[in-house]
Symmetry: D3
Subunit: 131 residues, 6 copies
């Protein structure tokens, strides 16, 4: 309704850079059940938060992958953001490092489960972590 | 007993770079209750994991701060690793960005509670996040 | 063995009102592995707790859906209690509101994952959240 | 910068109804470390989410108290929202019911720890749960 | 009201063996806010669950200490059950082993935080883990 | 590279006793994505931690099953360690007791979800919990 153009535009741009998708795809995916959530994802998550200038997108994706690995309750989102990390220039080997590091902080199960998702994502992309 | 010199030396070096502390301080802090844990912290956490060459220490600390913020169950460790992040060159404003980003992934309470710890750490260090 | 008739009867009644199922179905589903758990579910969870007079069943189901959404580790139970919420008169749109609200408290992944379950439950029931 | 007046006004109103506080107090509390978070709290959390018309504020607070009790990682926020629940008309005894119900879903420790916070909140307010 | 004597008696006995406390102390501690919770603690937690014959109390306390360490959200309960573990014959060194083992499953912060609580409990009891 | 023979040998032995598998199988399963993790699993998790003499393997597996049940985020690992528990002499009925006990500490959903995994494991093994 009264969404400021600027948040929407900035959000769409960052959404596109990270996920490779469009705002309208987000809107479509949620319009049957919670259309306003699509606006929040675009305007708030990608517009207000992920677009902030104080940290580069590579670092932001390292942070996201670390958090989702540690939480262990966000498998679909970890998949999306591993793709997103690759989209903004993170190397597969760097993402493996972030996930391995979580063994210290949230335990080996969280690391192993996240690596299994990373393996699938890398396979879909045809990339491999350098030895 | 049979700790390889190399893991210990590498671990001590990275421990020192991140926490500013020494392995012997870790050993002292745990010798009354679980002396072997001190060895694991130095040899495994700092030696095997945090010292790996594939990711820079700044990115590692972003990942750690993100994970500990999202988990919400590791206040003393979040404090240590906010100090550690500053020690390896993360800017206060960058750490605030990582913590703010967690509002999206683990919710506002996790962000607010971590910011309150960051405020204390910044105060102890006499630093402030640039506007 | 010495289960008081009253807890059992009250539990069966509330179980039936919320889940639409019978105590004997619960008993059957657990008799091969942990028959006493069936008694705890009926007598304690539904009899002692969910049947208490101080809060209406609609509010109880809002609370349950909120908690299970935020926890993110109880997918089958979230499904059961979304059905249960509809059974006791919660509107689909109200359940969407409760789930959306969790974006603030436990983050967007918890909300999105719970909405995907709600979508399936609504589809099974042939209901839709009013716009 | 480009915050739409409407979100801010709506957010301030709901913030005031729930917490009894003002947006400027939120702004003041965060201006030293993360001023934009104050805007997110007012505009997004209270403006976009908690102000939505599809669910009454009492039910919203039941949902929040349930989630924060189950999470167990948000003690300051549980305190704020227990006050908030009382502010929007939840009875102390109803809040006790919501917390007790969590024993089933997130275990007895989560219930006992939340009750200890509720006891403090009730004492500050001079209210008691009716028997 | 209709609490079967047997659950109460069995619960009181096991409560006494584990915590060293009495049911009436539990009742007193909760009578101002949630008197029925005291009954659930005695009758359900200690009567129905912890008193079951299929597992010895030492093993039960190992399981409880492991779970509470891994959860990281139940500090007061971890304290109670470390005392309880000592009361039923667990050695301080065995409890340290259980807590150390959690480093693998839930991460180093969970282990370190639990050890700090164990240190306080051991000190209160005047015991030390054998080297 | 500089892995001490002793940690590796001890780790392989305990890995074999608990999982019935070999270190080389672990190495094979991770060599495409994170070969060093295989070394950590063998040398650290099984060599340094699970092989420690201060607690018998049965008690260790009770602790692991309790923690993984309570966490609710480690389904594949819970499966592995239920098998492991049977391998080191835990009775199916004892494992059911540990899982049931978690209803008190982490809630009924955690117990029910873990029991469903235990049922599958018991079926694969052709064992049943004694009544």
């Amino acid at each position: 309704m009264n969404i400021p153009t600027k948040r929407r535009e900035i959000g769409e741009l960052t959404l596109s850079r990270i996920t490779g998708g469009t705002g309208s795809a987000v809107v479509d995916s949620l319009k049957d059940i919670a259309p306003d959530l699509a606006e929040w994802v675009i305007d708030f998550s990608y517009g207000d938060v992920m677009s902030r200038p104080g940290l580069d997108l590579r670092s932001r994706q390292f942070a996201t992958v670390a958090a989702l690995t540690a939480m262990g309750t966000a498998v679909p989102q970890l998949r999306v953001h591993l793709h997103g990390a690759l989209n903004v220039g993170c190397e597969p080997s760097e993402l493996v490092e972030v996930i391995l590091q979580m063994a210290v902080f949230s335990g080996f199960p969280s690391t192993i489960n996240a690596l299994n998702i990373a393996r699938e994502v890398f396979k879909e992309r045809g990339v491999t972590p350098a030895a």
